[in-house]
Amino acid sequence: MESNEDNRAADPGLPPEHGEWLRREVGEWTREALIQKDQAGWILARYGLMETETPRSLKRVPMIRIIAALGAVLVGIGVLLVMGANWEEIPRFGRLVLLMFATGGCYFTGYALAHGRGKQPAVGTALLLLGSMIWGVSILLIFQMYYVAGEDGENAALPITFCGVLPLAYLLRSPLHLALSVVLGAGWLLFVVSSAPNWSGTQVSMLLLAVGCLLYLLGMLHRGRTSESAFASIYAGFGLAFVMCVLYALTFVGIHDRGETRHSLPAILLAVSAAGALFAAFARVAKTDRASAWEARALAVLSVVGFVLLYAPAKWATGDAFAWKLTMNLLLFGTELGMIGLGWKRLQPGLVNVGLAVFFVHLMTRYFDLLSGMLPQGLGLIGAGLLMLFSGIWLERQRKNLLRSMKGV
């Protein structure tokens, strides 16, 4: 590890009486999520106030350490391969011990590295995530060991792993664990819906829309909390992905069918989402900025529209109905505009880029829908190509103008 003198050599010198001030300030910056924990360590190390690896010192890591690390990785992979090849020969008790050892080993080593005294936070976080994944896989392997299938077997693994990983996400303030939880929860939901009987296309769509809205709402509610601000992007990102995918799918003929509304879950979730969004619009979130208030209102409107669509008259909601297609396309277009506007207002280029990309895909899809049948195949493709070319150039120009104007704000 780099010594304090090596770090201090990079700096002309920090008066000792300022050391305490810097420690205090860096602590505040970390608490306010202005900087990450490892960056805090680097800043303090630069002034000789902490001993830790810095990006500069890591560049000077001796070759022998890299070789040793690679050797350790190879040994680890070899151990896994040997275990895998002889898995059937190992008695059940032995397999259980190995799984527990792997899970516990990753967890405790990861914790020591990530939350010890500024040692290897990146490696530690990765090991903690690996521990959670190994735990989930262990549940499945034990089901497999005892040949347990169906709803008492692997169907139960997703929700159990979700319940185990989510508390860790909040305890460790780990965005990676939260992302894993959301993926597990989404996978479980999709599995339940796909295997359950008597769910119409409309009910499934509205259920997924409701989940997307709720995830986005969670993102909004986490935005103001400094200790979990990173969670806001994850929840909002997944929520937006759900909403966009559902709205996009609903613009196609035949995705939705009326069927008989037997399940109240989509309606309940949409109602909760609408109520939560309205609460956010008029309560804490609204006090943050006007954009957040409008964002919450838009979310409430989307939830209410979903609720209405769930109970729309059969004649209006059939695949050929012009009103349905128009509504879905307008909803999707409105969401795209909302993303672009929000990204511009909040100075988030990523949101602007995604909004424009989705708009482009939407545009091209409608082109093929509307015009491909009217034009001979060759002309249709030429038209599509020209449209892509010119709209791509125009969109890129608009995107650059938007990003330039954001920098000027």
Partner: protein
């Protein structure tokens, strides 16, 4: 935070122990029965190779049972219990019921299942015993068994040894072909 972390990790590890312990205890203390198997061999994307097990009790014609159940029809997704009489070489399906009896019934085993498909008085039932995991390198062996069984099921009988707990939960112990156990 450290204390909570240790508590959560300990809970996760205890869950693994509890999961394995429950299944092991049930297999050890449950009522053993043998079921006649019709094996198929697909490949599971997520859990390696397994034999998809179909049993002679997977498809039930309610009117042909020695003790036909009540006339109220079963619905898809409904939980039910196959009433079996343990016999050699394999258990015999006697009836189907919706409820477990409060006390044990002599010479009767109640195996819990879910009606996948119900068409009047015919049911397709899943018991959670439908997968027997086999190592990839033994796939050829299983294919040979399936081919022989498909050609001559009477002379290549396949049976599954199952332990059934008091609450009707069944657990596969082993699969046997002509009396020889396929142990993996």
């Amino acid at each position: 935070m450290k204390r909570w972390f240790i508590a959560i990790v300990a809970a996760q590890l205890l869950f693994l122990v509890g999961e394995a312990g429950y299944y092991q205890w049930t297999i050890a203390t449950g009522t053993p029965i043998a079921l006649r198997v019709v094996p198929i061999d697909p490949r599971s994307l997520f859990l390696g190779n397994y034999m998809a097990m179909n049993y002679d009790i997977s498809r039930i014609d309610l009117d042909k049972l020695p003790e036909p159940p009540e006339t109220k029809p079963f619905q898809s997704g409904e939980t039910l219990y196959a009433v079996l009489e343990p016999r050699k070489p394999t258990a015999v399906l006697i009836g189907v019921t919706r409820e477990l009896p409060a006390a044990s019934v002599p010479n009767r085993v109640f195996l819990k299942g879910v009606a996948l498909y119900a068409d009047g008085r015919t049911l397709n039932v899943e018991y959670g015993l439908e997968r027997y995991y086999i190592p990839e390198r033994r796939q050829d062996e299983v294919n040979a068994i399936w081919s022989a069984h498909a050609l001559d099921p009477e002379h290549t009988p396949v049976t599954a040894e199952v332990s059934v707990s008091r609450n009707g939960q069944g657990f596969l112990r082993s699969v046997s072909v002509k009396g020889k156990t396929l142990a993996y």
